[in-house]
Symmetry: D2
Subunit: 348 residues, 4 copies
């Protein structure tokens, strides 16, 4: 009953098998091999357009490089206050861009509110050099609250960015979970909406270590080659990443894994809703369920071996928890079994 | 006949098997799992002392973090002019330390000369704020010229560093190759000599992606946790690194692989020396052979499928090559076969 | 009737005269001259202890270097949301420290609240590498709202910093104005309270360009010499700064100038309070008056040549302004005349 | 007999007088005042074209910002090995550009050799991401060896830069001295040759503190406003700089002061050449004389109160000094008197 995080899982068997299959022989290094090329083409196919693909080691690296491409002196990038870039990356985006400032902009259900975004951007007029200048907007899909931006919601953010010429970045650590939740294509969820850069994560969804930064504006690709190498993110044996992505995409494995994770989350949500003592904090759109559990129930679950995190109660829930209740995050993954979910909800 | 670089090889079967063996189940993330702990203990055992172990994604990351731990404002670090940190990392050490300067100091056979090092350090007296301040010395073991520092040579560099209180870093991208070449223990080659930080590379010697920065001064370890995360080098599924190292060290596999690579280099060197038209540029201590080949011989080898790099002729060889000769680097690895070597030298 | 900012004034006659008096002859450069030494000794006398004095070009430089001395990877420094370091320096503190994050912590009357500070610091436990680590606290004396921290209020912030080992920085762009407002000694307002670093500003109080960063912990002084030079803040003809400070301190000119500025602010506040249509937004402790003016009054004043800024209405004033009212900042300086104040209030 | 450096002088009387004249009244801050505008127009007039003018506090700041405008990830800028940017700025250019590398390229008489420059640039092909990428070339006019690039020599460097699209920066800490030495116009010495950025120094030539970065490509000006503020180089009372420049340019004072300094250097050179025991190391083009003095002569001069620096013997002078001789730098300024020169040479 491990619901702590989707990165507590290991790798899907097909990912491992692909690594084994590509372990022998020789391949050109530093991203110049045939398999690297094949995977890049697959990305173009999936996204239905030319796209520059940069493998990196971590989602933090993809996010930080993305924001660094947009950075200028005194730059301010906007994101949700719970976004990974501002809350969980130890200042990596600031480091990669030599001092960018991240400015939190909130809204409902863990999403950036377009009106508030517009208002915040306007606080940095370009003729006020003291204040700094806006440089980018980063949204997280699926969000840290387990919700998913609808296409219309992404449209709304892109519409705010456009007149200010701010690139729109999507942190897609859980890209696949959001995609299958919306049941749309990668193109529809990204560049067709006005998204310029995507941190495309495979790790949380069944890979060992497969992350890529995607650029739709190819004119920035050359510079990013230097930026990636300069930040020590260019793997010498890059086929160890491309072998993972090769298997990840084959036969739409990635979508199947995400669908499974989401289905397990739905099952969990259903069970919690049906339980006598527990309830959902809000609706789960993808593979993260936020549940309000009685403290004794949580303790009992942990005694039975369940692992899951306490979660700080956000402002909009203030006052809605009883003193004997706590908020918790439950994350499912490709590896979650219906049996584990069943055992969990039976105790709720 | 692939002699272009040891990172053109894939992964040794045992490395892949270990990844597969650890693919299932759940493990605590971000370097906090049981396997991570086991591997850290193994490092302590191998180095015969407490050592702080930081897994990172690339050798460049290990080197850059190592130099960053020593950085101060206006800092100048010293290395050989052909060192990877100065020649092949696109300014990553400068980036990680926000503007460190790398100052080349040469000597014989691709090694830093201790007298020249002392002279260069003295050019930065601490009361001359304009000049900057010395912060660290980095040596590469084995060197980029395929030579290996003897224990006495490391002692000599450490003796220069000590009175200036400069930490001594060892770029050990080919640590194992140097170690078996000297036939000494890891402790003897590092901290017993006065080495403070080691970039410990496993990738070139049979892993997919297994690099670690080792610190012998544990008081700096806490800060490095933040530095690593801040530079986007903390893997979420860290067991994919520890699983590699676990197999790498089991039954001294790492030493066997390095011995094989070195033996193949020796065989290559022997064959070249025995050939009619080709010769060694200088003695090969580990798994890199530098050969002077007739241009038509090199062309013929390439026609037969051999892959190897041209190499710039260093100053100390100036004038010793005939117009129809070229200098080339030939690198062997765990994957090199005696058959490949035989085919190569038969054409020399 | 110029109340826009105290840096719209020029230089006091005595400052200019000192520059003229020291214009001839030769002096050792880069802060090594006799006059530099004399001024440093004067600082020690004024502060009643040894203090390391670093002349810099701007208050922004002093603040940024101060925070940079405390920076560590993933570092988070705390300040008020209206503090100059976060609101008006275009990311300089972040730049000087390669990516520090500034976290706003508010309280009453433009001051950091000690309880909120404690709570914010606790959000960054050192075992959560993802979140980053707290590094420093910066308070502004006098504040951007024209209020002045009492000695007890500084004590309270220092008491929060101490157990977390966070250095406490004072942005003293208006140091003198705060000092004479409290009627205490420099020692009492700083190190006796637990302040570790002071940005000591002379520019706003009658100098052309005289700013100094003061360190009470002399062990950090050597490193700061390199940090200052590295950030291009070491003046070659440093006597142009020391000549200003020499006159500034002579006969307590600096205190007289600050007393005058504060007195003019008090006169302004008195007149506004006594006026029929205008009122104070809150009490003025030093040389900044925040007034609520009828829109037609403000327009009339501007027609008559008055210059002053509109000010955003802070949350704690929300709803307390009528639709025909606006909030404005009025700043006095050594150059403000009672006549100007009189003309201003006669229109209010 | 102070020949240590031109920044040991104070300020010319006219500079001080201008500061006094502008000390009263109010002026808009942060570079937005009428006098700032007037001086900017004067720059445009002097340079015979539109030019963006950025006042900064030090020559190091101007140089560092200039190189930072050109920086890209893994960037390498080229300069002479004795250039101030690489030898005397404590890594400020590297800091301002977050890790640029400065690569020394030498030639005859302290100048960059165009052929060597071309060769060095070619060592960084854009398809070799490991090596980094060339970003800029910086020449010093007059050089640190007291020589002056001829117009043809600047043309030659610009011709190397152009096909590589590298901006050419001129460190003009001694701009005026070089200009009157060549007897050309500012336009002829800069943008008409292909110079893109100029660090225009007034401090060494009679100002207290008056330095400006000049950009001929106005499209980069907006970004530089943020870069300057972000690096804490935007003065609030900017008229203290513009008042200096205003007097500096009035009646061509700046040219007169430089002519005087150069004439004093010529007198010094003449006297040394005519002396029995001393000689010139090389011809002095501007206001720096490099002299080879007998050790006892140097000692005697110092006994008589002369101040001047020993200078490291460059490679091209190797072996040409007798054991009882030393190399020394003698710098003249606007403040040097013929009497001082006379007393100096009478002892040579």
């Amino acid at each position: 009953m491990i619901f702590s995080s989707d990165n507590w899982s290991g790798a899907h068997a097909a990912i491992g098998a692909s690594l084994m299959a590509h372990a022998g022989g020789y391949a050109s290094n530093y991203g110049t091999g045939d398999l690297d090329r094949k995977v890049e083409k697959k990305f173009a196919e999936i996204f239905e357009r030319d796209v520059a693909v940069f493998f990196v080691g971590t989602g933090t690296a993809a996010n930080s490089l993305a924001l660094a491409t947009a950075h200028r002196a005194g730059g301010v990038a906007f994101c949700h206050s719970q976004a990974h870039v501002i809350a969980d990356e130890c200042g990596a985006p600031e480091f990669f861009s030599h001092g960018a400032r991240l400015k939190p902009v909130d809204g409902t259900r863990g999403k950036i509110g377009p009106d508030r975004l517009e208002a915040e951007i306007r606080r940095f007029p370009l003729d006020n050099v003291q204040g700094g200048q806006p440089t980018a907007v980063s949204l997280t899909q699926a969000t840290e609250r387990g919700t998913v931006y609808s296409l219309a919601e992404i449209d709304a953010l892109a519409a705010v960015c456009r007149p200010h010429k701010l690139p729109l970045h999507m942190d897609g650590a859980r890209f696949a979970n959001a995609l299958v939740s919306l049941d749309v294509t990668p193109a529809e969820m990204t560049w067709k909406r006005g998204v310029d850069l995507v941190s495309f994560g495979g790790t949380k969804n069944g890979c060992w270590c497969a992350e890529a930064l995607l650029l739709f504006d190819l004119s920035k690709a050359q510079e990013l080659h230097f930026m990636r190498k300069r930040s020590a993110q260019l793997f010498s044996k890059s086929r160890f990443v491309s072998a993972q992505f090769d298997a990840y995409f084959a036969g739409d494995l990635w979508l199947d894994l995400a669908r499974h994770a989401n289905a397990m989350a739905a099952l969990l949500a259903e069970g919690i809703t049906a339980s006598k003592t527990s309830r959902l904090a809000w609706q789960a759109d993808a593979n993260q369920v936020f549940a309000i559990l009685k403290k004794d129930v949580a303790a009992k679950l942990r005694q039975q071996g369940a692992i899951f995190y306490d979660w700080p109660v956000p402002q909009d829930l203030d006052g809605s928890l009883a003193p004997d209740e706590g908020l918790h995050r439950l994350v499912t993954s490709f590896a979650t079994s219906a049996d584990d979910v069943g055992r969990f909800v039976s105790t709720c």
